[in-house]
Amino acid sequence: MELAFYIAAIVAIISTVLAITRLNAVHALLYLIVSLLSVAVVFFVIGAPFIAALEVIIYAGAIMVLFVFVVMMLNLGKAAIDMEKQWQRGSMWVGPSILAAILIAEVAYLVAGPGAAVYGAAAIEPKQVGIVLFGPYLIGVELASMLLLGALVGAYHLGRRTPEKEKRESRNGIGTHASGTAPGGDLVRAGADRPSGSA
């Protein structure tokens, strides 16, 4: 069991490192998915099978897929990769690395303090989790659902392409707001003004 844990941990770390250093967005996402899967394995080893499943289904399955969708939609071509190459210089890694290193040191110091963990091998059943969810954490569940509702509405609104404005402009001919540019693709013109309201 412990071996599985260590292997999964190492894989997670390596794939994370690779994920943040890739130039191509899709590559990075794939590496990230690998990282998430290995974390799920870690969860399973620790004794939280329910969460492991959830991790795979929701995190790796839904959220990452969403990422992939958006990346594909944006249709970044080779130009984007060149830009990335240009942006990323070796010297840029110095500062953040230092910050991160200090952070690691602090956390390590904390963890290495008294009260070091001894692995309890007892797994926590999903049933237990469910009971606790419906018990003391009921309100958290409600809040989470409201949060998701809000996210849903916000995402819908933010992702819109303001179709009324386009109709209005095509009716009037010369636009009242936007200067009279040639009607082109939505992506080009719709970005000329801010989305009404804010999320």
Binding site: G95, P96, L99, A100, I102, L103, E106, Y109, L110
Partner: protein, 630 residues
């Protein structure tokens, strides 16, 4: 009657207020009613008070009228109180009477001026301040009057303010007298600190009991007060302002700079005579200042070409005589000379004003001449005053007062031969420049024609003063000439008599004879140079040394030049160097540092997300560190 004392300064102050506020809107004829009338009323009150004082003298020969308490803080309690004794009585009488005559004169002299009411307002304020100065029973009230007359002097010198030269002269007067005023303030502080009071009589009493003769404190106090007197009375070394003060209207010069304000210093020293009696060194300083000044100013007066400047230097010189008298302990002689000087010097100025007006504002005596036939009244009055100034024997007031001073310079225990000699030389010089003036202005051929003749208002005061210049001396004559001592006796009610040393070498008769000799010598030389043989004067003045001397004395022994180099330039240099005010950099530095911080902080608000994230990370690290390690 004595309780009417407070009216003497009150009338002019009331008139000042009326004229200052309503003067502009008053009809022109009404202005002199206030201006002249108020001083006239003061003069009448002064006469009444004098009559009362003489007929039924108050106990102790002094009278104090307390009006109210001025300040009351921590044991310091000066009052608005007027103190009348023979000294202040004589001076107030002279000031109001001569002042009234001069105001009367200026009612006609200034009538065409657009600042008519302003002029009278200032003059009335001046008279009020001067009376306050003379009547004040404590040094603080005296100082109030002192400052008041200084202010009025400034205002009146710069009366025609549209010409910047006048403003400059006014500022010069004020600043130079300020130097003296500072010394006086220090003196007042010293007196108050050491003796605990500023009430004059109390002060004198305490000084007598507490300060031993010749100790350093009275010397210091005496010298400081002397500094103030020097400034106000235009003595060496602070005499440079008076000749330039002639830029003011002639009645101003007559009143302020001849008869009254410049004698304020004399009054101060006479009032605080106890301090000087206790401090022989200070008193000697007074005498030396007087002697040096009278000679210096005499030389300067010889070379002037502006009629008023000659008279200005003459004033400086005559006040030197008064200081000399004070310096040898002849207190009453100094006041006697003050009185006669007020008469003839005011008349000289008024006469000069008449001449200037008639010749259409011509000031240069070398452009005048031959006025004797054209303006007889002016001539005879001017002549009377001039003879009195020079000291024509036996029939002029000046002869008696000056002769008394000269004799006292010889005879007093604090006099000396050197002082006497200086005074006699001064007589020669005085006679010389006076008759030079008279001969140049009134004799010879007429160079500028008379365009205007003075009216009654201008001539009447001249005549009155002329009469006084002649008969005013008969109140105090030496032994061999009538032995009248009424003035001296009167003064001795308030001032101690001069202590005479043992008889040595010369009697009073001998001194008077030598004085007369000096007078005649001066008269002769003036006649020689300016009437008979003008060529002689030309030939003397041609060599370079003579020209240099002439220039030297013309510019008042180079004092202006000296002060410019000594004081004015360094101060201007400092001001220029400090133009950016290095002290300011300290305050500017605070702003600068704040600005630096601002620029630094501003760079963190660059809208870049990663930067902000880094900030959050760094912040959390620091936070953790604090929690962990502290």
């Amino acid at each position: 009657m004595l309780h009417l004392l407070w009216l003497i300064p009150a009338f002019p102050i009331a008139s000042f207020i009326v004229l200052a506020t309503l003067g502009r809107r008053m009809p022109r004829k009404l202005v002199p009613v206030f201006g002249v009338g108020s001083v006239g009323l003061s003069a009448i009150v002064a006469l009444l008070v004098t009559g009362s004082f003489l007929s039924s003298p108050p106990p102790g020969n002094h009278f104090t009228q307390v009006l109210w308490t001025w300040i009351d803080v921590g044991g310091f309690r000066p009052e608005i109180a007027f103190y009348l004794d023979s000294l202040s009585l004589v001076m107030v009488l002279v000031v109001t009477f001569v002042g009234f005559l001069i105001h009367f004169y200026s009612a006609e002299f200034m009538i065409e001026d657009e600042g008519y009411s302003r002029f009278f307002a200032y003059m009335n304020l001046f008279v009020a301040s001067m009376c306050t100065l003379l009547l004040g029973s404590n040094l603080l009230l005296l100082f109030l009057g002192w400052e008041g007359v200084g202010l009025c002097s400034y205002l009146l010198i710069g009366f025609w303010y549209r010409d910047p030269v006048n403003g400059l002269a006014a500022r010069k007067a004020f600043i130079v007298t300020r130097v003296g005023d500072t010394a006086m303030t220090l003196g007042l502080l010293l007196l108050f600190d050491k003796l605990g009071t500023l009430d004059i009589q109390e002060l004198m009493h305490r000084a007598l009991t507490q300060w031993p003769m010749g100790s350093v404190l009275p010397v210091a106090a005496g010298l400081l007060l002397l500094g103030g007197a020097i400034g106000k009375s235009a003595q060496l070394p602070l005499q440079t302002w008076l000749p330039d003060a002639m830029a003011g209207p002639t009645p101003t010069s007559a009143l302020i700079h001849a008869a009254t304000m410049v004698t304020a210093g004399v009054y101060l020293i006479a009032r605080t005579h106890v301090i000087y009696s206790l401090a022989p060194a200070a008193q000697l300083a007074v005498a030396i200042v007087g002697a040096a000044t009278l000679i210096l100013a005499g030389f300067s007066a010889l070379t002037q070409s502006d009629i008023k400047r000659v008279l200005a230097y003459s004033t400086i010189s005559q006040i030197g005589y008064m200081f000399l008298a004070l310096g040898v302990g002849a207190w009453s002689a100094a006041i006697f000379h003050f009185m006669t000087h007020a008469f003839f010097k005011a008349l000289l100025f008024l006469g000069a004003g008449v001449v200037i007006e008639s010749l259409h504002h011509e000031h240069n005596i070398f452009k005048m001449g031959g006025l004797r036939k054209e303006m007889p009244v002016a001539f005879w009055t001017f002549l009377a005053a001039g003879c009195s100034l020079a000291g024509l024997p036996l029939i002029t007031a000046g002869f008696y007062s000056k002769g008394l001073i000269i004799w006292d310079a010889w005879a007093s225990t604090r006099g000396s031969t050197a002082l006497w000699l200086a005074a006699v030389i001064g007589v020669l010089l005085t006679s010389l420049y006076t008759f030079r003036l008279i001969f140049l202005v009134f004799f010879g051929e007429m160079k500028t024609h008379v365009s205007k003749r003075p009216g009654f208002a201008m001539m009447m005061p001249c005549v009155v003063l002329g009469i006084l210049s002649v008969i005013g001396g008969f109140v105090e004559t030496p032994e061999f000439l009538g032995n009248i001592h009424s003035f001296g006796d009167f003064m001795h009610l308030a001032l101690p008599p001069m202590t005479e040393g043992p008889v040595r070498g010369m009697s009073e008769l001998g001194s008077e004879a030598l004085v007369t000799l000096a007078f005649l010598t001066g008269l002769y030389f003036a006649y020689l140079f300016f009437i008979q043989k003008r060529e002689l004067a030309e030939s003397i003045s041609r060599p370079a040394i003579a020209k240099a001397l002439h220039r030297f004395w013309y510019t008042d022994w180079g004092m202006d030049w000296l002060y410019e180099r000594l004081f004015v330039r360094p101060i201007l240099w400092i001001a220029r160097v400090d133009k950016n005010d290095f002290v300011d950099y300290i305050y500017a530095g605070i702003a600068l540092i704040t600005e630096l911080f601002y620029h630094g902080v501003r760079r963190t608000e660059n809208g870049r997300m990663r930067w902000y994230a880094a900030g959050i990370a760094a912040g959390s690290i620091i936070f953790l560190a604090i929690v962990l390690f502290l």
